[in-house]
Amino acid sequence: MEAYIVAMLVFAGFYALMALGLNVIWGLAGMVNLGLVGFFAVGAYASALLTTKLLWPMPLGWAAGAAIAAVAGGIMALIVARLRGDYLAIVTLGFAEVIRLVASNEIWLTNGTDGISGIPGPWRGDVSPQQFNLIFLALVWCAVGIAFLLLSRASHSPFGRVLRAVREDEDVAAVAGKPVLWFKLRAFALGAAVVGFAGALYAHYNAYIAPDGFAPLLTIYIVLALTAGGVGAMRGAVVGALFVVLLLESTRFLAQEIPGVTPVQKAALRESIIALSLILLLRFRPQGLIPERTRTHSRPGATP
């Protein structure tokens, strides 16, 4: 049971990192991105290949995963520069599928659907599996903490102010003297870097990655996490990720406790409980658990 909880908290950390990344792209800059899992996969494959084939040290592999995902994000921002809303959603969703299909078919590089195994993990083999999980738990949540601090800072800086303006009205942001595309590109690259870093950590935690680990459902969970937590608020991204993992996992046990139903019905009930919880949350708290707040206030002396 303890091992299970630790593993779930590690996964919650991955979710939190991804939700933080999405919050820059979608929450601040207002660009729908349903291709998250694509950037997650790019980070995972980059780090896995560099550390297993070229024997790079792990931290360098993680940094490379983030950097390559950032470049992919920047290119993505240029491709979708003129798209908004539904169209942006479709193109980004397509991007993630392209990445998954490339990983399945470019066997010379990615080993195809067999995946890559034997990805090193910090002190794996030197310590017990439980200790390894605890080390990784600390590692992932340190990464969440650092990403949270840096992104909060960016969010409440003049840079973040321009991103919010781009989100609400691009024409106004442009007339305010801001090069809109350059801001979108940097927001996309920054968010993708955080998601790519999460992917890299995931590869080294799991020791094995394969294309079917990067299905669109993961993107949907992250979008849910951010929506539940509060779009635009960095704290909301972390809280939302914890909330979604808690919801997904606790309903597993809750459904087991319902008497007089078959296992198939239990599985269906579990999904119903998840759906109902999210609907109720959005009905009664559409702004999310932690609504977006900006921090620029006038000085007390300035208002008569």
Partner: protein, 257 residues
């Protein structure tokens, strides 16, 4: 005679088969509050959009302060010192009034990602300067009490004032105001006219599109009249009001003489 601050030559813009601008020529002299008027559909708004870079013209030139800014992106036009307001007040609704003003501040190093992450001294110093400027502009436009309110919560008139305030934050040489008193009560319209007159006294140049003739008559000289995408007439308000071509453009031609 010094060169005009803004000079538009032969500006053309088509939307499909509709010719919105059909070789528009106009000039705005320094230190004036110039009005751009004309009946609905004359192309005033399109002219504003093309001059401010929000849409690209199909032909012609826009020369601002000696620089050719034809077809330049709106952020470049603003940085050159030509700043426009929007007709339907488009405050960024979920930012506060103060943040809306700060958004229009120029030369903020904190708009670079690395600087934002490091929160450098230069960024904080510039933020303080912009904040002082924003508070001064808010005080001047009677917006001090609502600085911390979200722009979405402002009254219609306050949104109009915020439009002007934001444009002033960008330290313009030429202010383009798109219907600054449309839908505003007469008292506030007079107040806005006073604000614009004060700006002129301080040396600002303003180009206004407006339908309120009282406002134009009291404030603007010269007045430029557009019709069917072209310059029709220009001069003082009296000379324009007595111009038969202008009356015809607004009222239509008499069928029976």
């Amino acid at each position: 005679m010094t060169a005009p601050l803004l000079e538009v030559r032969g500006l053309v813009r088509r939307f499909g088969g509709v010719v919105a601008l059909d070789g528009l020529d106009l000039a705005v002299r320094r230190g004036t509050v110039t009005a751009l008027i004309g009946p609905n559909g004359a192309g005033k708004s399109t002219a504003f959009q093309c001059i401010s870079g929000v849409i690209r013209p199909d032909g012609g030139n826009v020369i601002f302060d000696g620089q050719d800014i034809t077809g330049a992106r709106p952020d470049r036009v603003t940085r050159a010192g030509l700043v426009r307001s929007f007709q339907i007040a488009r405050g960024i609704p979920r930012l506060t009034v103060l943040e809306n003003l700060l958004l229009y501040g120029q030369h903020q190093p904190g708009e670079s990602l690395a600087v934002a992450l490091l929160a450098t001294q230069a960024m904080r110093r510039r933020e303080e300067e912009l904040r002082a400027r924003a508070e001064a502009i808010a005080a001047r436009l009677n917006l001090s009490r609502v600085l911390d309110n979200q722009a979405a919560a402002l009254s219609g008139g306050q949104k109009k004032l915020l439009e002007i305030g934001r444009a002033l934050m960008a330290e313009p040489k030429l202010l383009l105001l798109d219907e600054p008193v449309a839908g505003v009560n007469p008292t506030l319209a007079a107040e806005i006219a006073r604000h614009i007159a004060h700006l002129r006294e301080e040396g600002m140049t303003v180009l206004v599109v407006e339908h309120h003739m009282d406002f134009v008559a009291s404030l603007c000289d010269p007045v430029i009249v557009m019709a069917e995408g072209k310059l029709l007439a220009q001069g003082s308000f009296e000379s324009i009001a007595n111009d038969a071509r202008v009356q015809e453009a607004y009222m239509g031609r008499r069928v029976h003489a």
